[in-house]
């Protein structure tokens, strides 16, 4: 089957990462991070998701056409 799951995984987590990190950057220093012990968890974890998503997309693009 010519369907590479790494594409949707990559798209999903790139979108999540961008949204969370972006929101985190905008709300840096806000009181909402008191709950997470003062860490801007949106920015930090958003960055992790972004890297994961982009890696998946990279692998998917590199692997395109190989899996016929």
């Amino acid at each position: 089957m010519n369907f590479d799951l790494r594409f949707p995984i990559g798209i999903l987590f790139t979108a999540y990462g961008a949204l969370l990190a972006g929101y985190g950057a905008l709300t840096n220093g806000s009181d909402i991070y008191k709950k997470s012990l003062g860490d801007n968890i949106n920015l930090q974890w958003g960055a992790v998701l972004l890297v994961f998503g982009l890696l998946m997309l990279t692998f998917a693009i590199k692997g395109r056409g190989k899996n016929k």
């Binding site: 369907f3 799951l5 979108a15 968890i41 949106n42 974890w45 958003g46 998701l49």
Partner: protein
């Protein structure tokens, strides 16, 4: 947190919305590939092994797993890891090394169909019907848990949550069949890992790391084996009942014969990949306690920390509801944004748990019940149509079961009970079927029936706690034929029920087989029974890819984990 609603922001809703769009999108993309019934039910045996491996694991990551294991983490501590390192890994490896060759090699399209090839029509029918009922019941339990949780946390209407999530599952399963379900399960796997690990990281930081957490929970919660000598531990189970009941009977009955998980391995490209599927799934499975049990222990430690401001919330009944451990930690630690991610992960696990059950149901219904007994010899497109119809019907019946589950407090205990009745005897049948060529169809059928009957009777005469004279229990807990045997916990009762059902099925199958004639010749049993099947040829595979070697490595790693956390 109090159990009042979590407030979701626009960002949180967007995260949930994006997930729903992506899974439905996958369904629509896959629709192009759904040309034959085999594509719809078996994914055309074409899915890459890392995907089947993760789906194999995630098919089991439903309500029972995520919510239930965190609850158990808070109730029993590290002992909960027995559900993984004893109650899952060995069975997964056994399936990969010994049983998969018969499932995949026989070209059976389902587990019940294997029973037909190996034994006879009636054994298959019994298994198919009980399995079909079990899948829709589990799917209904998933659905109920989701809707109840959304109602409690977000104040969403119960009925609306129930119907809306059913429609999402219906949309993608109807379009993409088993492939949709498998791909969504893998998405959900990553969501769970990436959505819940921040919770564990922040929680451990808050408590002063691992040792800080351990110092705040009772000593009996900090070891997996140390207090298993007698049943005088948080679980109320001794090592024998745990190893035999959970580690052997329930675990092998589930991982080695439940079509829901075996179906994922059957979707692999070739025999080697089919056998590696459970092994690949076993690796993250081994590490999952870190994400699902640890939150429970963190919650317990927080409750014991003065000034943490945290308590495990009360459920609808007004008593402490351990199933709320994960949601309450989400509310305690995560800001808007991350809340959306974690809640989406939770909802994804419920929905894909349901999708997994529905895809197993539509296959067994169509191939093993409809094609076998109701309308044999129809065209391929007719069966594909029936598969789609069964998908809709399966979901409608699940909704019915959800309302049944609404009246049962502990879903985990309820599912364990059902697995005890249905699955416990089944593994004896497969063990004898695969490794003893003398086992006959009559033996298997009567063995299964008496095994299940023994389970039901055992449930009727046993009680999860000692009862005073004249005291009665709700029937779901047992002792409806009077209390003749009592245990120290419902878990101990369940494990012993499984042991009894399995043993009765095992003995009865042997006895009846010996007094009945074989109906299948050695030639017919080739590829279905161990002693009549040529050894797997693995010479064309590199040594490091061979299932026996990989499986041994995983087992060794599980052993090390048991020793570390003994």
């Amino acid at each position: 947190m109090n159990s009042d609603a979590i407030h979701l922001g626009l960002l949180d809703y967007s995260i949930l919305g994006i997930y729903i769009l992506v899974v439905i999108g996958i369904g629509f993309v896959l629709k192009r590939h759904m040309k034959t019934a085999e594509d719809f039910f078996l994914s055309g045996r074409s899915i890459p092994v890392w995907v089947t491996g993760l789906a194999f694991l995630s098919a089991n990551l439903g309500a029972q797993e995520v919510i239930g294991m965190a609850a158990s983490g808070a109730k029993y501590g590290i002992m909960t890891s027995h559900f993984y390192w004893v109650g899952a890994i060995p069975a997964m490896i056994f399936l990969a090394v010994f049983m998969m060759p018969f499932y995949y090699g026989s070209k059976a399209r389902s587990v019940p169909e294997y029973l037909k090839l190996r034994f006879d029509e009636k054994t298959r029918g019994l298994n198919a019907i009980s399995f079909a009922l079990m899948t829709v019941a589990s799917s209904g339990a998933s659905l109920h848990a989701l809707a109840a949780l959304m109602h409690l946390l977000l104040k969403w209407d119960y009925n609306v949550s129930l119907i809306a999530s059913s429609i999402v599952v219906l949309a993608y399963v109807l379009k993409g069949g088993l492939s949709s379900a498998i791909y969504t399960e893998v998405l959900q796997f990553f969501l769970i890992v990436l959505g819940f690990s921040p919770l564990v990281i922040i929680g451990l930081n808050d408590l002063g790391g691992w040792s800080g957490m351990m110092s705040k929970i009772p000593e009996t919660f900090t070891h997996s084996w140390k207090y298993m000598g007698t049943a005088n531990n948080p679980m109320g189970v001794d090592w024998f009942a745990m190893v035999f009941g959970l580690g052997f009977v329930l675990s092998f009955g589930y991982w080695c014969t439940d079509f829901l998980v075996v179906q994922r391995a059957m979707a692999a490209k070739n025999m080697g990949d089919a056998r590696r599927t459970p092994i690949i799934g076993a690796v993250p499975k081994m590490l999952f306690p870190a994400i699902v049990i640890l939150p429970g222990m963190i919650a317990l430690a927080l409750v014991g920390t003065a000034g943490s401001g945290y308590s495990i919330p009360n459920g609808i009944t007004g008593e402490t509801d351990y199933n709320l451990v994960i949601p309450s930690l989400i509310a305690h630690y995560l800001p808007t944004g991350m809340i959306g991610l974690a809640l989406t992960a939770l909802m994804a696990s419920f929905m894909s748990g349901m999708a997994g059950n529905v895809t197993a149901f539509n296959t067994v219904w169509t191939y093993d019940i409809y094609q076998s007994y109701i309308a044999p010899g129809k065209s391929d497109s007719h069966y594909m149509w029936m598969g789609k119809f069964a998908t809709v019907a399966g979901i409608v019946i699940s909704i019915g079961f959800a309302y049944v589950a609404k009246n049962v407090n502990n879903i985990m205990d309820f599912l364990q009970l059902v697995f005890g009745f249905v699955n416990a005897p089944v593994f004896a049948t497969f063990l004898l079927g695969m490794f003893w060529k003398r086992a006959t169809g009559h033996g298997a059928f009567i063995g299964l029936l008496t095994g299940t009957l023994a389970a039901v009777i055992f449930h009727g005469i046993s009680s999860p706690q000692p009862l005073a004279p004249g005291e009665t229990l709700p029937w779901i807990k047992g002792a409806w034929l009077g209390c003749h045997i009592s245990f120290t916990s419902s878990m101990a009762q369940n494990f012993w029920l499984a042991i009894v059902a399995w043993s009765v099925c095992f003995v009865v199958t042997i006895v009846v087989s010996l007094v009945t004639a074989r109906t299948k010749s050695d030639e017919e049993l080739k590829g279905l029974v161990f002693s009549l099947t040529p050894t797997q040829r693995e010479e064309n595979e590199p040594v490091w890819l061979r299932p026996a070697l990989l499986g041994s490595l995983v087992l060794f790693a599980a052993l090390i984990l048991n020793i570390i956390f003994w």
